[in-house]
């Protein structure tokens, strides 16, 4: 559940004289450190957990900061714009902003955006966008105008979509709103008109956006106090055309409609938004967390001293001005987990996921690997030279292998592979294996007749491959319905996506028994299974012992038969079972890729679902998608109740019958009977 924790004030001294609160709160390259730009002349670097400033920089008297300072994550420097056109870049060691790097631009800057993993971007007031490097190379370059006259930028956000930076900005002109989406991989700027329904002529007051699948979900908090959502496609069908997008109501009346100022909205995660503003017209301002999916208020915190209507969300912290002080309220949304609900959550430090060692740390492996290989190679070369100077340095088997993959026959590749595997593993072993597989797969696609099955199997069994290292491999095996390779992959890969597991399951279930017969499948996992069956039998057997001579056991004839026929019966079982051993082994492998050492049993899953329903019943009741489920549950429970009541009636009738019967036998307290013993 989402929850707001106890907040704390960041500044002991009130922020600068600016009437509208701080200009911005931005992340620095160190976690827990944030750049706070006030609307006057100062930029302060705070360490949030210590609640203390680490540095403070001010522009000269007479100058004014117009754009919040950001951190260039690529260099660790800070960037700020003052007086609309003057760019300053400095770092922690600099004391005086006046003496740091300065660039005067030809147009007015709206915002500088910087996020992890991308070059900072400069958005100009006229809608033009430039990368920082390009701009610095030629500060006085001409900046084009994108937006029309009187169109002003209201809000902007920069994020990564599938590793490509995307910038969105919202403009307003005469009460109409437009969204511009700039993608940098394709250099396409798309423009959208945000359509309001006729009755909703309300001005948007605050925006927030997040990426949701193939859309940018743009949320706006309007002056009527409602939150609207607009879905903007990331990949527009016709980017050149001005398109229209409709906004839909997401949350109703989260803040008072009459609130003139001090409302803000920010998306926290897929299902949660934070809203700042007075919930009722007369009430004090509040920070509230709403669940958009269930439309429920999850948490709320009153801010009696008023806010500036600004809200920033970085990491796990919500920043806002409360009274005259910048306040940080940590926000937590625990991922609901069945395992957690049952206390079966695995401790993350548990070393039982040994499979994780298969993953390669690319950062270290690559750098270190290459370096060391080079040095080793050179050493080897040196050594050889000492012994026999005339011999040419041997080509490493990996190179030969990679070369063989591209052109040689299957046989030859096998030989090369064996050679390569025989050599002591070098640190870049992972990458080479990955490259080999990718090379092989590429060739398979190019030459339909080429299918180096043995090589692939050997490669999988090196235990260094993972799904992400060779994503095409399993798809290819699925295409070929090569269950043996699939089984190996399922056994070895630690990171198979669910969809692929499902596809494997489908194949395992649909493949014909005759074709299974021919394949060589590892049945180890099912041998356990048969052992378990036998255990069960033993257990049952001991039950028989309960009363050496009790009536259930009277039919000794059957017992004796059971005893003699047991081995035979076991043999029959394995053949008469609808799932053959091989298929069972395959299915076992597929289900074993589910998280945890043992896949959950049906009863466990039922327990979890019951717990989950219990815990979230009120929420489920409100969820429109759950309506059908609830209805069928209701029907089911109703039928169960009627069954139970009937069963109770039957039980009572039986008891009465038993009583009658007893009375009959009770009367016969004494009898003389004839017994013949055989």
């Amino acid at each position: 559940m989402a929850a707001l924790e106890e907040g704390f004030t960041l500044t002991a001294v009130p922020l600068g004289s600016g009437p509208d609160g701080p200009l911005g709160v931005e992340q620095s390259d160190k976690t827990d450190q944030f750049l706070v730009t006030d609307s006057g002349r100062t930029v302060i670097l705070y360490k949030v957990s210590d609640q203390k400033p680490l540095g403070s920089w001010s522009v000269k008297q007479g100058q004014i900061i117009t754009c919040p300072a950001v951190c260039n994550f690529q260099t660790g420097e800070y960037i700020v714009v003052h007086d609309n056109k003057v760019l300053r870049i400095w770092n922690n060691e600099d004391v005086n902003l006046d003496k740091v790097f300065k660039a005067t631009l030809s147009a007015e800057v709206y915002r500088i955006h910087s996020i992890q993993g991308a070059e900072p971007l400069v958005l100009f007031k006229e809608g033009a966008i430039r990368g920082l490097e390009a701009l610095l190379a030629e500060p006085q370059q001409k900046i084009e105008t994108v937006t029309s006259d009187e169109e002003v930028i209201k809000w902007t956000k920069f994020f990564m979509v599938f590793r490509h930076p995307v910038l969105i900005f919202i403009t307003e002109k005469h009460g109409n709103y437009f969204a511009y989406v700039q993608k940098f991989n394709s250099r396409i700027l798309s423009k959208y008109t945000l359509l309001l329904r006729q009755e909703e002529k309300s001005a948007a007051q605050s925006f927030s956006a997040s990426v949701y699948r193939k859309f940018i979900s743009l949320m706006s908090l309007s002056s009527d106090g409602c939150v609207y959502e607009t879905l903007i496609p990331i990949h527009p069908s016709d980017p050149e055309k001005n398109q229209r997008v409709v906004r839909s109501l997401l949350l109703k009346s989260v803040v008072s409609g009459s609130a003139r100022s001090g409302v803000a909205l920010t998306i926290l995660d897929q299902d949660h938004v934070a809203v700042l503003g007075p919930p009722l017209s007369a009430s004090k301002e509040c920070l509230s967390i709403w669940n958009t999916k269930f439309q429920t208020l999850q948490a709320s915190k009153e801010l009696p001293q008023g806010t500036s209507g600004q809200l920033w969300y970085h990491g796990e912290n919500l920043f806002m001005l409360h009274g005259k002080f910048l306040t940080v309220i940590p926000y937590k949304c625990e991922v609901s987990s069945l395992a957690g609900a049952l206390g079966k959550l695995k401790h993350s430090q548990d070393p039982d996921i040994h499979a994780m060692t298969h993953f390669v740390n690319w950062e270290t492996s690559q750098g270190y690997g290459l370096g060391s290989q080079n040095s080793e190679q050179s050493k080897r070369i040196l050594r050889r030279r000492k012994i026999e100077a005339s011999v040419q340095p041997e080509v490493p088997p990996s190179t030969q292998l990679l070369a063989a993959v591209q052109k040689d026959s299957e046989k030859h590749i096998e030989v090369e592979l064996r050679k390569f595997l025989a050599v002591k593993r070098t640190p870049d072993f992972h990458t080479i294996i990955g490259d080999v597989v990718i090379g092989l797969l590429g060739r398979c696609k190019a030459e339909p007749s080429f299918y180096p099955r043995n090589c692939l199997m050997q490669l999988i069994q090196t235990r260094v491959l993972s799904y992400s290292l060779c994503p095409g491999l399993m798809e290819f095996a699925l295409e070929k319905t090569d269950v043996q390779i699939l089984q190996l992959c399922l056994q070895q890969f630690p990171d198979i996506p669910e969809s692929v597991t499902c596809a494997c399951l489908k194949i395992f279930l649909s493949i014909g028994d005759d074709s299974l017969q021919e394949t060589d499948i590892n049945m180890e996992s099912v041998s356990d299974y048969t052992a378990i069956i036998q255990d069960g039998e033993i257990e049952e057997q001991t039950e028989i012992l309960q009363n050496g001579f009790n009536p259930e056991e009277d039919n000794c004839e059957n017992c004796a038969q059971e005893l003699t026929e047991k081995p035979q019966a076991a043999a029959e079982e394995s053949t008469s079972c609808p799932v053959t051993g091989k298929r069972a082994a395959l299915l076992e492998n597929a289900t074993m890729t589910l998280p945890g050492i043992h896949p959950p049993t049906l009863n466990q899953i039922m327990d979890w679902i019951c717990l989950l329903l219990d815990a979230n019943f009120t929420v489920v009741v409100m969820l429109p998608e759950a309506k059908r489920l609830l209805l069928s549950l209701y029907k089911f429970v109703k039928s169960q109740i009627s069954i139970c009541s009937e069963l109770n009636k039957i039980e009572v009738s039986f008891r009465e019958l038993q009583k009658l019967n007893q009375e009959k036998t009770n009367r016969e307290l004494y009898s003389i009977e004839v017994l013949e013993l055989f």
Partner: protein
């Protein structure tokens, strides 16, 4: 119809293979015996024995190593309701009850060693210290009293801080430093050194939102880590931190009282019993796999009882429970049982493992023994005949001839009617009674033989000789008295003194039909055979690992047949002083596995007057005639075939199949004997009849809410 049956039967009787033939069976169900409810159970790990006390004050000792045989018992007493039972200092057994007395039992002589008043009013609870040197009792007046256990007695040491109300449960911390005491509405934790209460933990009276008048803490258990587990009348099992006196965890497990609790020695599992007849198993399990953090989880419910489970015990391999429904249930923990043996089976012990019925064959009389009275019945008769399975019309019904009430508060230990039906003898813990009966048509004249000698004070077993001229009495000092009976008087002939050094009491007696031999057996040592004519010990049958459950001497051959609790049967020739050839053969070959798996002991053995090769024996669920002339069954043969034979050849085949002819028609079977060659008497006690006499159980719907 009868005639036709007779015709069909006629040639078969003549045929030589019709060895067993046909019996008229007097099927008796009017023995209105109701066992007393179980009040306490106490398990002794050292000897693997279980002590069980019943509401009538009877205390029984079960030997769990000897196939759960009830090897000893101490008769009850009207004024001695046991509320607490415990083992201390190794194998000393103590009980305490509402008469305010602490009693120690003599497990050798099978009597009460001493009774000592604790002077605290009725005693509700008792616990021996982990070291076994101290005994703690909780009394009605709220006092907790500490006694020092001395080698031959107990000695009052001191009182702990007096509490407001009665102390219903007590438990020692395994280190012996603290105790927990359950009272009404609260649990106290005492420091043993100072005797002062250091914590008082209040138990919530609320039950499902309704405030009950009182919350009675029926059971407490103190664990090594300082946790106190309590079981109370509001259906809760609660975990308390004794260091802070705070409630740690609460399990609401029943709509009724949780009445008993027992923890395993390893403290990784415990068991509680509720008034709904349910027994819950709690186990300490890891919170997550591979983690050392553990928590108590209710793992298994068992419903083997219909009524209150007043007492539970936890042996290393089983959960033991008993209560108002009189059953003692031993439920093995399958995960702890490694091999399939006696321990792997669920046991339900309802009837005593000794005979409560004796029979005067010639007069067709049955004597039933109850706790405080004896009943004498005469069997009816019929002139009709029939075929297998027929119920014959009675020409005369059974008669209740006599109801003999004991004098005094003590329970009857044993009783016997002479074969001629003219003598009845019985004994309580302090008095021996002998009556002479005269039958005049339908009237019975009962005359007590007065002036019993001083040495005949208490008997563990009484037996008349076949000609009813001699009376054999096994006293609890280990001696055997032989008495000659004369018309209206008696004469003490001899006393066989116990073997030097042994004080073990004889519980089982058997006399040869010719009156020459007397066999007597205790619980562990071998069977002694005395020559009655020469009044000396003839021989001793070698001791066997398992206790004797039944004894009998065959006519003519004077072969002694001995049944043991592990279901072995031996035949020992008294004249030859050695095991018979048949006994050696069956030992060599071994009994059928199903025979050995029976879970009730053989309680009676008798012989066919005309067929020396036949031995008749029975347990609670079957009776069997062993025909020694037939081959023995091996594990592959069918021991018992419940289906009637379908045709003539099948009959012949079955008759000659093997030596064990078994019938399970009559059960639970308390007594079975041959009245004459063709007549059997079977005394059954159907469980339903017992249940019908118990108070109604708490009703629980089986289905739904």
């Amino acid at each position: 119809m009868w005639g036709r049956g007779g015709e069909r039967r006629a040639p078969r009787v003549a045929s030589p293979s019709a060895g067993m033939g046909e019996f008229k069976v007097h099927r008796v169900r009017f023995f209105n015996y109701v066992p007393s409810g179980i009040r306490c159970v106490a398990y002794n790990n050292q000897s693997n024995r279980l002590a069980v006390s019943r509401t009538d004050g009877t205390v029984e000792i079960y030997n769990l190593s000897a196939n759960y045989f009830q090897e000893k018992f101490f008769p009850g007493h009207e004024s001695r309701a046991t509320e607490a039972l415990c083992w201390a200092n190794g194998q000393r057994l103590f009980s305490a009850g509402l008469n305010g007395e602490i009693i120690e039992y003599d497990l050798q002589a099978l009597n009460i060693k001493y009774a000592m008043d604790a002077f605290g009013g009725p005693i509700w609870s008792m616990a021996a210290s982990p070291s076994g040197s101290q005994l703690l009792v909780g009394c009605e007046d709220g006092s907790v009293k500490l006694f020092q256990i001395t080698p031959d007695k107990i000695q009052f040491e001191r009182n702990f801080d007096r509490q407001k109300s009665r102390i219903l449960s007590l438990s020692w911390h395994p280190a012996g430093t603290h105790i927990a005491a359950g009272s009404i509405d609260y649990i106290s934790v005492f420091d043993v050194k100072s005797g002062s209460a250091i914590h008082k933990m209040l138990v919530d009276r609320q039950y499902m939102g309704v405030s009950k008048r009182k919350c009675i803490v029926w059971g407490v258990a103190f664990l090594s880590d300082g946790t106190v587990i309590s079981a109370d009348s509001a259906g809760k099992v609660q975990f308390w931190d004794s260091a802070t006196g705070t409630l740690v965890k609460n399990h609401l497990i029943a709509d009724a009282d949780v009445q008993s609790i027992a923890v395993s020695d390893q403290e990784d599992s415990f068991v509680v019993g509720t008034a709904e007849g349910t027994v819950f198993h709690f186990q300490l399990v890891s919170v997550t796999s591979n983690s050392s953090e553990k928590q108590w989880v209710r793992t298994k419910p068992f419903q083997h009882h219909t009524h209150d489970v007043r007492a539970v015990a936890h042996s290393p391999i089983a959960l033991i429970s008993g209560g108002t429904d009189t059953h003692l249930v031993i439920r093995p923990l399958m995960e702890k049982v490694e091999v399939k043996n006696y321990d792997a089976a669920l046991r339900k012990i309802t009837f005593p493992h000794r005979r409560l019925v004796s029979c005067a064959k010639k007069k067709q009389l049955l004597l039933f023994q109850f706790a405080h009275h004896l009943e004498l019945w005469r069997l009816g008769s019929t002139v009709a005949t029939g075929k297998n399975g027929d119920t014959l019309p009675l020409s005369k019904n059974a008669d209740h001839l006599l109801h003999l009430k004991t004098k005094g508060p003590e329970n009857i230990i044993c009783s016997c009617i002479s074969p001629c039906g003219s003598w009845i003898a019985y004994s309580t813990a302090s008095r021996f009674f002998l009556y002479r009966l005269n039958y005049e048509h339908d009237n019975i004249n009962l005359q007590r033989v007065s002036k019993m000698p001083a040495f005949l004070r208490s008997a563990l077993q009484i037996l008349f000789s076949e000609d009813s001229a001699k009376l054999f009495v096994a006293s609890n000092q280990g001696s055997l008295h032989v008495i000659r009976l004369l018309e209206g008087s008696f004469k003490h002939l001899h006393t066989f003194q116990p073997q030097s050094g042994t004080v073990e009491s004889m519980c089982l007696l058997a006399v040869s039909p010719d009156g020459n031999w007397l066999a007597a057996s205790g619980t562990s040592a071998g069977v002694h055979v005395y020559n009655v004519k020469q009044l000396k010990l003839h021989c001793t049958v070698p001791a066997y690992n398992f206790p004797v459950t039944a004894l009998a001497i065959a006519p003519n051959t004077n072969n002694l047949v001995i049944a043991h609790s592990d279901q072995q049967v031996f035949e020992y020739s008294i004249p030859d002083k050695q095991y018979t050839q048949w006994s050696r053969t069956i030992q060599k070959q071994g009994f059928h596995h199903l025979w050995l798996q029976r879970d009730t002991p053989i309680t009676h053995i008798s012989f066919h007057p005309k067929r020396p090769m036949h031995i008749l024996l029975h347990d609670a669920y079957m009776f069997c005639i062993i025909d020694k002339s037939l081959p023995l069954p091996n594990d592959k043969t069918l021991l018992y075939n419940p289906l009637p034979p379908t045709n003539e050849s099948d009959i012949i085949r079955r008759r000659t199949a093997h030596a064990f002819k078994i019938s399970k028609k009559y059960k639970p079977l308390l007594f079975m004997d041959l009245l004459d060659e063709r007549t059997l008497v079977a005394v059954e006690r159907p469980l339903d009849d017992i249940i019908a006499q118990l108070p109604p159980p708490i009703k629980k719907k089986k289905f739904g809410t």
